[in-house]
Symmetry: C2
Subunit: 191 residues, 2 copies
């Protein structure tokens, strides 16, 4: 399974088999059941998660008691509450498995040690953060420029496999509307 | 002036005077007049900007013809359209000086060359992107969880110096409401 991780690192830098083995030792493999929480509101955010297989989501519970999903992570995506992770603080988020998943995780201490022992991995994480940041910037633009309905169509156009894979009530939670409203939009497309 | 840049790099790694001189050669210093555009919609985004002095903003023009500000950059902040910069594509954004500014910029080609010649700088950019990504994630949460009015108060509470420095119509453009509405809110605070 860690072939996936090795291949992902290999997109950005060249490492030997032996180096990869040493790098792997900083990570822990974990199986996660569907709907299992990896992180809960109020906990100190200690881990950075890399998805080998499956699908995770990040959400918070708003003042109305509704789960607002802010992020998904599929295979080869990293996910955590980055501010809480860097500063080892309690989080306001939940990270939960949408599907039965297989993940790698690393602690903040180990990530720092990894980067000290293998400075080449700075390049890997630089790319990971650079691309995640670019995607977040695009997301911010969409939040301003597109209506929730337009954003749904954008999602459907750009990532149809994603819309098909994620349960509809979670797509609704990501877009910030009710499952009933999403169901209405979908009916309109068909008719 | 590049003392500011040297000090900023020094927050994340140790480099010698000689190394810094060599690193500096990848960058160009530029003075920017107030309201001057560094980047305009439709142009290929070639540069990554670092603010030494002054204040830049990034915005796009929405379908109603209104400037929607999505980002500001003050001293020691980096700014660009990251997706367009990485892929050397035309941008949908403008980057403009809010105040008379002094900046350093680097081209994508030079940034890649810099990282090849000085791999230690991977660590610097890893931190730059990591923190920018964490801030963008927080922004996304606020866009969901706070009303525009609450976001203004959050800004006022966390960054009063920022609200004071930026012209009110740009604060309004950042928050996504009209200058008139912002003026109303401000009156309510005073009364």
């Amino acid at each position: 399974m860690s072939e996936i991780f090795k291949k992902h690192i290999g997109k950005f830098l060249t490492i030997s088999e032996k180096e990869f083995e040493q790098i792997s030792e900083f990570f822990t493999l974990r199986q996660v059941a569907k709907k299992e929480n990896l992180l809960q509101e109020g906990q100190v955010c200690k881990h950075h998660y890399f998805v080998l297989k499956g699908l995770l989501r990040k959400f918070y519970i708003n003042e109305k008691g509704i789960e607002q999903t802010t992020e998904f992570a599929i295979e080869t995506w990293w996910i955590t509450d980055n501010i809480a992770y860097e500063h080892r603080q309690p989080t306001e988020f939940y990270i939960q498995a949408v599907e039965k998943s297989e993940i790698l995780y690393i602690t903040n201490e180990n990530q720092e040690k990894l980067l000290t022992d293998f400075p080449a991995m700075e390049r890997y994480f630089r790319f990971v953060y650079q691309r995640a940041y670019a995607a977040a910037q695009m997301r911010i633009k969409y939040l301003f420029s597109l209506s929730k309905e337009e954003f749904y169509f954008e999602l459907l156009r750009k990532h149809p496999e994603f819309v098909q894979r994620v349960p509809q009530y979670l797509i609704a939670s990501f877009l910030g509307f009710t499952p009933e409203y999403l169901s209405e939009i979908r009916k309109r497309i068909i008719s």
